[in-house]
Amino acid sequence: MKPRSRKFGTALAALAMIATVPLVLAGCSGGASSSGGKVDSITVLDYYNQGNDKAVIGKYLDICGAENDVKIDRKLVPGASLIQKVLQQASSKTLPDVLMIDNPDLQQIAATGALSPLDQYGISTDGYAKGVLQAGTYKDKVYGLAPTVNTIALFYNKAVLAKAGITPPKTWDELQASAKQLTTGSQYGFAVDANATYEGTWQFLPFMWSNGGNEKDIDTAGTEEALQLWTDLVKDGSMSKSVVNWTQADVNDQFIAGKAAMMINGPWQIPGLKESGVDYGIAQIPVKSASDTPVAPLGGEVWTVPNTGDKAKQKVAAKIVDCLNSEKNQLAMAKLRFTIPSKTAAAEKFGEEVPEEKVFVDLVASARARTGQLGETWPKAATKIYTAVQSALTGQATPAEALKNAQAGS
């Protein structure tokens, strides 16, 4: 009995000591901020928790930290749990000094009042692509800036297309014809992600937008034609029926495995594609008629400065965000992460240095933010869009009916 109780006592003592750790830590941070003088560390929260992205972002955060003479205390969470973490921190008043948010979520979080507008720190918003500012703006104030952005385009297997004597399709008719021609054996001509998530919506947007569709009302002829195109591609077998359950990563796997000759995907797949050894090319997503301008959706993460109440730290945090967005750092990060600088000048330079990604550079210049029109209510529209896409592709309803039902549904 005795040794056991002593052990228990030790355990209890240990527990008590551990319990005091947060107090001590809180005491430290409290002391640092209340002294009002020098800020020596900045907390950062983001979801680049793997591989190359993790390393590159970490490196440039440290560079910007060193430039401002502060230590960067970086916390990482998986992408799917970032918003939950942010909400948790917002209610317990423990938001980080610098916070990264996926751009379609920015308005949602800015609307809560948890973020501070960047103009109060004197950060310039000149020289950015239009869509980038659109994504970072809530009620006429810019709350977040993205150093690099992305979008999606058409990836094609050069060898397969050359063998079939096909050049990358530019119009919908060409897409349908070449996809059909490229479908042989276990190889489908074309692949997209049409799953029941916002990712599925995101992949449909360029088709819908380029044809004059609008997320405010999806029950229009332009959107219907775009959905008809996807439906026809599934119907005539050029696209697998499984697209309704594929993620963008799955689509990329199909492409690498030679089971899809062309796919819609983004530049973040480039490292994997290079590693796989597939000889790929990148082209713009086909539009209905050759004279249409392609409209791409803007992707990427914005960096923000939450209202933590510690003015001195917020100022330094803003400097870090500004530093990440310097033309030099944008370009350097873009090259390492295969994404596109958000400042037009840097993007052009990037296009010259990395010609392979010229397509993305052109698209980003005119890319549209998903929250540009609907702001906080975008998630509802995004749900309607993927619901309609799914019900048309599975043959539950015609594209027209599917869009009508989805638009009417709450």
Partner: protein, 322 residues
């Protein structure tokens, strides 16, 4: 075991109280009160735990369902009272009927499959044969795997074009089955995967129940001609009844709220074919950030599973009373 351990202790308490009351009749109420206080103190940790970890979330969820609880609430703490608006919204939504029906089909299908197969396995493993122990523990495998992992693997197995299952079926001349991609098949597929996950739970509990049936009963039964099916019908099944009801009630409560498997396999798609009340509630709260409506829907789910538990417990009590 427990009854024999408790009996002497109880007797001692009684004896103590008797001797105390006979010796010091004047101090009896005081002593009893102290004793009562100690009894309550022993209850305190458990009560505190229940209030903190069960009471609070439930009450909070109920309150949330009457509020316009959005992302803003987390920062400002303000959640305007909206009365029954959230309930009206989720109940009148197009999807509610679909989700309710899918929840019912998913629960009934999963429970029926899990229970029948689980019982068969339990009966099978009651006979001892070489390697039966090893095989029985292998059966637990689906239970030990994280659900996210198993759903990812199943998704890969069930892929329409290159999935292992369809490749296997091709060998028998069966064409590609659209396991997860056809709205009319997806729900059945999700139920089948959930049955696979639920079998270990059912087998383990039912096997435990079978172990408690004394072997003498079967000996006596066999003398009266009850063997095989008759032995099951007149000995095993009646003796197993209490365990069966526990298994079923727990099974329903676990199945009604299944979320991760569906999210992992289909995300509620294709075209809402596998959307249940649980996935719909998750979608409202964590994808559309409408926490009030999400809470309202999850309360409806809680009421459904509570109703089932009450009805079932009543039936069960009636059976015992009879």
């Amino acid at each position: 075991m427990t009854s024999t351990a408790q009996a002497p202790a109880a007797r001692r308490v009684v004896r103590d109280e008797a001797s105390v009351s006979s010796r010091m009749p004047g101090r009896q109420p005081n002593r009893l009160r102290v004793q009562r206080l100690f009894q309550l103190l022993f209850l305190l940790p458990a009560a505190l735990y229940l209030v903190l970890f069960f009471g609070y979330p439930v009450v909070k969820n109920v309150i949330m369902s009457f509020q316009a609880y959005t992302t803003t609430t987390f920062y400002t703490g303000e959640a305007p009272w909206v009365g029954l608006a959230n309930y009206a919204k989720v109940l009148s939504s197009q999807l509610f009927g679909t989700a309710l029906l899918n929840t019912a089909l998913f629960t009934i299908g999963s429970i029926a499959g899990q229970f029948v197969i689980g019982l068969l396995f339990a009966l099978f493993f009651r006979r001892h044969f070489p390697l039966s122990g090893v095989l029985r523990s292998l059966l637990l495998l689906p239970w030990l795997l994280p659900l996210i992992v198993s759903s990812a693997v199943w998704k890969w197995i069930l892929d329409q074009d290159s999935g292992v299952l369809n490749q296997f079926l091709h060998a028998f001349g069966i064409g590609s089955v659209p396991w997860l991609t056809s709205p009319s098949v997806a729900l059945i597929t999700v139920i089948l995967v959930n049955i696979w996950i639920g079998i270990p739970f059912n087998t383990t509990i039912l096997y435990g129940g079978l172990q408690d049936i004394p072997a003498e009963m079967y000996e006596a039964g066999s003398l009266d001609g009850a063997t095989g099916w008759k032995a099951f019908r007149y000995i095993t099944w009646p003796m197993l009844r209490p365990v069966v009801s526990v298994t079923l009630v727990l099974g329903v409560v676990y199945t009604v709220k299944v979320l991760d498997i569906i999210l992992g396999l289909t995300n509620g798609g294709p075209a809402n074919a596998t959307q249940t009340i649980a996935t719909q509630s998750y979608d409202l709260s964590f994808k559309q950030f409408d926490f009030g409506s999400g809470a309202a829907l999850s309360n409806i789910l809680i009421v459904i599973s509570a109703l089932f538990a009450i009805v079932y417990l009543r039936l069960n009590r009636k059976a015992i009373d009879d």
